[in-house]
């Protein structure tokens, strides 16, 4: 039962469905309302107040939680709203210790973007100088630097609503609020399954992924989407590489059947591709040892031996194993080769294993 509604945002009439928030309706219409704690993959939070908008001329509401209503008049930004946003950003900046020069998220940070957008360089308030937890070593997959944390709660919800382990939560009150993994203790000793979703959703550099195969400035990386090689779920993954083509890190792609989620294998299990022990040339056994050969030599030898064995013992003396790790095109050609080139139905793969 979808009920259509029409409202005005910044003088433009936009339509949406009852049950949507102001933010959802506005974004669907291509309008920009800044956010920080909001993320479409988790439930509505309304914690950071960055998305405050003016509704019907007076009330300030968080667009990410306020239901859109028929006939509503929304102003996404005016002088007062901009001033409120600046104040929030200044307080967040003062509360933490945001050293972009040494931050893993430099160049890929929603908080940094907002500070640029609202011209915040130095907070007007004095820095409290209190440092929070930094733990870049206890976990094999996560780096934690709470001096960069803006307490948006995305990580808490990523773990509690997406990965469903509930590792992260807040502890303490007021300016003593900070994250805790399980009930205190280092994240590396928690029940974390290393899916990395908290780091993927973190809008700053508070939670980042451990480097797998090296790092590079975010603005020098390139992104390409592929499909995870492990189980059959078929998660779509964005793989990031540096300028030399080195694989750096992986993020879940939200358009795949995984809705952006990954497990530890999809997140961290890709560097085998660039392992130094990959086979680089064909090998042929000579005098009992595998030695390097050219493609011509190896292919000629393999085909000649296959032909000899076929001639001597018949096609059914030859069998082929295709692979659940290669593409449809490659499996198709493999079975076609076994059936037409060799002349046998002795073709199978590890479907049963």
């Amino acid at each position: 039962m979808n009920e259509s509604i029409r409202l005005t945002v910044d003088g433009r009439v936009v339509s949406g469905q009852k049950g949507q928030t102001i933010l959802e309706v506005a974004r669907n219409a291509g309008l920009d309302i800044p956010t920080l704690c909001h993320h479409p993959r988790i439930s509505r939070t309304g914690a950071c107040r960055i998305c405050l908008v003016r509704v019907n001329g007076t009330a300030l509401k968080t667009a990410c939680t306020e239901p859109a209503a028929d006939g509503m008049n929304v102003v996404s930004e005016d002088a007062e709203l901009a001033s409120v946003r600046r104040s929030i950003l200044e307080m967040l900046l003062a509360e933490g210790h945001h050293n972009c020069l040494f931050c893993d998220a430099n160049g890929d940070c929603e908080f940094q973007d907002l500070c640029h957008r609202y011209g915040i360089e130095e907070p007007r308030q004095p820095l409290p100088g209190r440092r929070r937890t930094t733990d870049t070593t206890s976990s094999k997959g996560l780096r934690r630097n709470e001096d960069r944390c803006v307490l948006c709660g995305r990580c808490v919800k990523a773990c509690g609503e997406v990965q469903m382990l509930g590792v992260w939560d807040f502890t303490g009150r007021g300016d003593r609020t900070e994250l805790t993994a399980d009930c205190g203790g280092p994240v590396g000793e928690s029940s974390c399954a290393l899916c990395g979703t908290c780091a993927q959703l973190c809008p700053t550099g508070a939670l980042t992924l451990q480097p797998v195969n090296g790092t590079a400035p975010t603005w020098e990386t390139r992104k390409q989407t592929s499909v995870c090689i492990y189980c059959g779920v078929g998660c779509q993954i964005d793989f990031h590489t540096d300028s030399k083509g080195r694989l750096l890190y992986a993020n879940g792609n939200e358009n795949g059947p995984n809705n952006g989620h990954l497990c530890v294998k999809g997140r961290f299990g890709f560097d085998f591709v660039q392992h130094p022990e990959r086979i680089r040339t064909p090998l042929v056994r000579r005098d009992g040892k595998l030695v390097e050969a050219s493609w011509e030599e190896a292919l000629d030898y393999a085909a000649a031996r296959l032909s000899e064995i076929k001639a001597a013992n018949g096609p059914d003396s030859i069998a082929g194993l295709a692979s659940a790790k290669v593409t449809n095109e490659e499996n198709y050609l493999f079975q076609k080769f076994m059936r037409t080139g060799v002349g046998t139905n002795n073709v199978d793969h590890c479907a049963r294993l």
């Binding site: 998660c235 064909p282 292919l299 393999a302």
Partner: protein, 539 residues
């Protein structure tokens, strides 16, 4: 899967049987957990190990390995007795139900509890009522249903239950096998199977062979009509000396197949072993020719996931050295053996696939790149099929099969008193070729282990972390002990990823008579303390 991953929120209840979902299909595992924890959906779990999902289940049934048919018949017995089945659905859409009724008669909760080793028969009743009350209920399974000599019967029993409850062909319902490899669905779809041509067209049917002979321009030559050997049968034929040569692309049977000693012996007998892979695997080390291929991120092409979705893989990085695309290598061999192949791109192969694979006919290369269609997709204007058997079953009527429980091939005795079951863990994959060569995954779990209950360990005077000897009638390994609350007493678990402590040196190569799947999930074994000087501290 008859249904789609995206339908998980539409399910009102889940039966997870023979699937450690949160470790082996973690993303789907999390989606199911979300429904159960945040939306109050019901969950029944049947598994010999107290897996993570068991902790949040409404009913958890710690069944003995190899008793799936009994527990499923037990659910159906209760559903039948209490009249909880979907009579209208069965009458209208199915056939063979009458034959099932007398078989279910003796599977009373007490009888089934005895077979499955369950303390409380009432749990079976409670579970059956939950499964019958929630509509739609989705059944999820994996290799914990199939890897038995009764594997086919286990699968048919899952279908029996879901048809009885009217859950097949319904959004959020279905029989949902979770496929364990990124393109195992596609490899099957493409006919990399000994009895089936692409799209599951039996090679034994003359009309199918004729169609392919024509499509493949075989001008007078004919396709072989006799179904070929399956993977384990190949090893047996090689051991006998009947099979002389093997061409292995991207597989590692020395680690993945049951009864390792037998596999190595068989492969060493071959006159020719060609291995095409990305690493010098345990199998490649035995080869006469090794052909270096591209890894997944070095190629483009399509793969098909567990929900029949055809997805596009982009090339992300360049391959090392002289490594080549698998299709290129196969084509080079084909040309040298007299075939006039001239494919220049994967796209040309895919376009040919469409013409001989009816379920892929509507998926063009362009469409595969831009969208993610689920087969069957018979025409370019067809949207694809998220849910199978929607209006009617693919075969017309859904067929019930009356199935009796049969015990596994090897049962415990005094000499081998423990039941061994095998599988995967979250951090690793199959034979470890990929995951153990990935730094972080390797650091997380560098060694194999045997998982044992505290009671069993205490009875053998073993402590957590010590090296133990595990033996079966096929072989013996040394492995680290991990005491765990997961396994039920008298059941031990070993992941098969670790060649140096290979579970498959122990597993039995008994096969399901129909589909030839090996019984990886149950065999008899013995665990012993290593005496001093026996290398106990090594590894």
């Amino acid at each position: 899967m008859t249904n789609s991953i995206g339908e998980i929120p539409s399910s009102e209840a889940f039966l997870v049987i023979g699937s450690n979902t949160t470790e082996n299909h973690p993303v789907i595992g999390s989606m199911i957990k979300h429904e159960v924890i945040h939306r109050g959906k019901k969950l029944v779990v049947a598994d010999p190990r107290r897996i993570e999902l068991a902790r949040i289940a409404d009913v958890y049934l710690p069944i003995r390995p190899g008793t799936n048919v009994a527990i499923l018949n037990g659910f159906m017995h209760v559903i039948l007795k209490e009249g909880l089945y979907d009579k209208a659905y069965i009458d209208e859409r199915c056939e063979g139900f009458e034959a099932l009724i007398p078989v279910l008669e003796k599977y009373t909760p007490e009888h089934v509890a005895g077979i499955c080793g369950l303390a409380n028969p009432d749990d079976i009743v409670k579970a059956a009522r939950i499964l019958a009350a929630a509509k739609p209920m989705a059944l999820y399974y994996s290799m914990g249903i199939t890897q038995f000599i009764s594997g086919v019967n286990g699968v048919k029993s899952t279908a029996n239950l879901q048809m009885m409850l009217g859950n097949v062909g319904k959004t959020g319902g279905g029989v949902n096998p979770l496929r364990g490899q990124n393109n195992v669905q596609g490899a099957c779809d493409m006919g990399a199977l000994s009895a089936l041509l692409p799209a599951y067209q039996p090679v034994i049917v003359p009309a199918n062979r004729e169609k392919f002979e024509k499509a493949w321009g075989m001008c007078g030559c004919s396709l072989p009509e006799k179904p070929g050997l399956t993977i384990i049968e190949m090893m047996n034929a090689a051991a006998r000396g009947d099979l002389k040569a093997m061409y292995v692309m991207g597989e590692n049977p020395v680690v993945s197949d049951p009864n390792t000693e037998h596999v190595i012996e068989a492969m060493e007998k071959l006159d020719l072993l060609i291995v095409q892979d990305i690493f010098l695997t345990e199998t490649a080390r035995l080869a006469h020719v090794v052909l270096p291929s591209c890894a997944f991120l070095e190629k483009e092409g399509t793969v098909t996931n567990t929900e029949r979705r055809v997805q596009f893989m982009n090339k992300v990085v360049t391959p090392p050295g002289d490594a080549r695309d698998d299709w290129w290598i196969t084509q080079q061999l084909a040309r040298r053996m007299g075939l006039q192949w001239n494919y220049t791109r994967a796209e040309e192969v895919f376009e040919e696939i469409r013409t001989v694979t009816p379920s892929y006919a509507g998926i063009t290369w362009k469409r595969a790149r831009e969208t993610k269609v689920q087969w069957p997709c018979p025409a370019v204007d067809h949207p694809g099929t998220p849910t199978l058997h929607k209006e009617k079953f693919a075969r017309g009527k859904g067929l019930f099969t009356a199935i009796e429980y049969t015990p596994p091939a090897e049962v415990v005795d005094r000499e081998y008193p423990l039941t061994l079951t095998t599988g995967r863990i979250l951090e690793h994959f199959h034979t470890g070729t990929m995951s153990r060569n990935s730094r972080i995954l390797d650091e997380l779990v560098p060694h194999g282990f045997i998982e044992m209950s505290r009671a069993d360990a205490a009875a053998l005077d073993l402590v957590d972390g010590e090296m133990v000897a595990v033996s079966s009638r096929r072989g013996s390994i040394r492995i680290r002990l991990r005491i765990s609350p997961r396994p039920t007493p008298n059941v031990v678990f070993i992941p098969f990823h670790f060649f140096e402590a290979a579970a498959n040196r122990l597993t039995i190569d008994a096969l399901d008579p129909t589909c030839k799947i090996p019984e990886y999930k149950v065999c008899a074994c013995r665990v012993e303390k290593l005496v001093a000087g026996d290398g106990g501290a090594a590894c």
